[in-house]
Amino acid sequence: QDTVKIGLILPMTGGQASTGKQIENAIKLYMQQKGDTVAGKKVEIILKDDAAIPDKTKTAAQELIVNDKVNFIAGFGVTPAALAAAPLATQAKIPEVVMAAGTSIITERSPYIVRTSFTLAQSSTIIGDWAVKNGIKKVATLTSDYAPGNDALNFFKQHFAAGGGEVVEEVKVPLQNPDFAPFLQRMKDAKPDAIFVFVPAGQGGNFMKQYAERGLDKAGIKVIGPGDVTDDDLLNNMGDAVLGTVTAHLYSAAHPSQMNKDFVAAYKKAFGNRPGFMAVGGYDGIHLIYEALKKTGGDTNGDKLIEAMKGQKWESPRGPISIDPETRDIVQNIYIRKVEKVDGELYNVEFATFEAVKDLGKTKK
């Protein structure tokens, strides 16, 4: 057998479709750049749409494993999808490469899961620490009510409170939420120094627009949070109100490394728009698969591949990253960034770096 099959399960339709598209694009780009053979084997991608619905993920994964006999399953736009596939990865003994979902527990659900995206704990704890140190004492939180949102909220609170900060208002908003007006009004009435926000990438735009409309920026209330809210994918569209928003995140399209500049340029050339952190997760995910295959010499035994992945270290467009050999989770730099205008476009400009951040969600347990 001289092909390696990767079953890529992504939300290509539905509300999360832009996640799926970015990851698919990034993988395409990588394979264009690096060729589609590795360790003497041809890499074949089989893409399945799960619309971010876990049972579809599971059926897709099962079909891929049983019928297509794939050697990897990869992708997973949302946490429940990644979790749904976990038992299958264990049963089939093949690696599950999580490229987007960001809840801490995921990697604990199967010894065959590795992650190349991030965990919300990583960015939330960092921004929590940063906030107290930078004169933010009172914070109101607004988070989407689902696992990643709750992770973000809890880890932020822990660190923020530990530093002496006070959470004056806590609002969880439904995942599918069209209008933020009433929540924002609540935030405004609580008069905090800043709002800690986590909403899934697509909704960041809505949030920021309404934040500005309601005059929270003028009232001196800052926005802080993990970087989802100022996702590069949408950032440039949000208007000047976002200027000054400070977030902690793994990737900015403005990351000043040469590698990233090339990556952004190539991505823009191929697909017409800027890559966001989702794209990077996919790019690194496929890279990890390539590297593991190289290391096993093309052997597709799942256990060997997982072993090969553990401890991998490489330079990504986001900066230096590695796979923690114990938790199979990603270790990466978290950057504090501020939205600024660069050449007439809005970017998250990095101004502080926390190096080699592990998933704090796990070490706590």
Binding site: T13, A17, P174, Q185, G202, N206, E213, G215
Partner: protein
């Protein structure tokens, strides 16, 4: 006190927005008795057209709004003449099947053309931000929505209730065969009404982009809201859906503000309670169909 007023204002604006979005459906579903689940697709069309005009071609927002109306109406009339008109006499289930099909197609097509990321329309500075009125924060954009929608509602109600066109339309719906035998040009009445409904949807789509965001899944995401407005409002007039929109808008905003944990309970509960209390909606005609 000011919090209450601010919330009331936001609720009214949100409700009005729902109303413009849904009132085209109130016309096609309530008056023409045609289940057009693709309604949101016309709204999306209006939104994207406005977005392209403003963001890409640099049109002023206020010039793009009427064009969103006109072009959605034009798409509407084209589809009505070619496809929809064959379906007036069909069962509701066929209509559901057909219009869901159209919705799927529109979703995928827009995804293909515009990508799946959410887009926004660049607003003129005059519409951004809030001003203070006796301590109540009034959003400029929301105020504009209220004004436009208010005028629209009055105009619509006049046309439907007071003019002969309204009664000819209802006659054509009640019994197309008899209506045509009695001198009503049924296809024309239908085409015009349908196009008008689509135009309204397009306008609503353009107006809502700022608040609800615009992406290819718009027609599916908001389908439920449109249906709620129309059923809760009842189908006998425009007033019903209008009040229903306000009720839902205010209820939703107040619910989120005062009991944020309850999430979507508020809207659904309001809906179920009203429908159990008045199965034909607030302004339904009891001795109906």
């Amino acid at each position: 006190m000011t919090a209450i007023l601010t919330n009331l204002f936001d609720g009214v604006a949100y409700g009005m927005l729902l109303f413009v979005l849904a009132c085209g459906l109130a016309v096609t579903l309530g008056l023409m008795n045609f289940v057009n689940l693709a309604h949101g697709a016309f709204a999306m069309a209006g939104g994207y057209i406005c977005m392209v005009l403003v963001n890409r071609m640099g049109w002023p927002f206020f010039a793009a709004l009427p064009l969103a109306f006109v072009s959605s109406a034009a798409i509407g009339i084209a589809l009505e003449r070619t496809l929809y008109r064959h379906l007036y006499a069909r069962s509701h289930l066929d209509q559901v099947l057909f219009t869901i099909g159209l919705t799927f197609m529109s979703v995928a097509a827009v995804d293909y053309i515009q990508g799946s990321s959410r887009v926004f329309i660049n607003l003129p500075a005059a519409l951004q931000g809030q001003f203070d009125l006796f301590g109540v924060g009034i959003g400029r954009y929301r105020l504009m929505i209220i004004v436009i929608c208010g005028l629209l509602t009055i105009a619509l109600q006049m046309v439907l209730a007071k003019t002969r066109f309204g009664s000819r339309l209802r006659a054509a719906v009640d019994d197309p065969r008899a209506a045509s035998g009695l001198g009503i040009n049924v296809p024309q009445v239908f085409a015009f009404t349908f196009a008008f409904g689509c135009g309204l949807a397009g306008l609503g789509g353009a107006l809502s982009a700022e608040i609800l965001g615009l992406d290819p899944y718009f027609p599916l995401k908001f389908m439920i809201y449109f249906l709620i407005v129309v059923t809760v409002g009842g189908s006998s007039s425009i007033t019903g859906p209008f009040l229903a929109s306000l009720l839902l808008g205010i209820g939703d905003v107040a619910g989120k503000y005062y009991v944020p944990k309850m999430g979507p309970f508020v809207i659904y509960t309001i809906m179920i309670v009203i429908l159990i209390w008045r199965p034909n909606g607030l302004f339904g005609r009891t001795a109906a169909r």
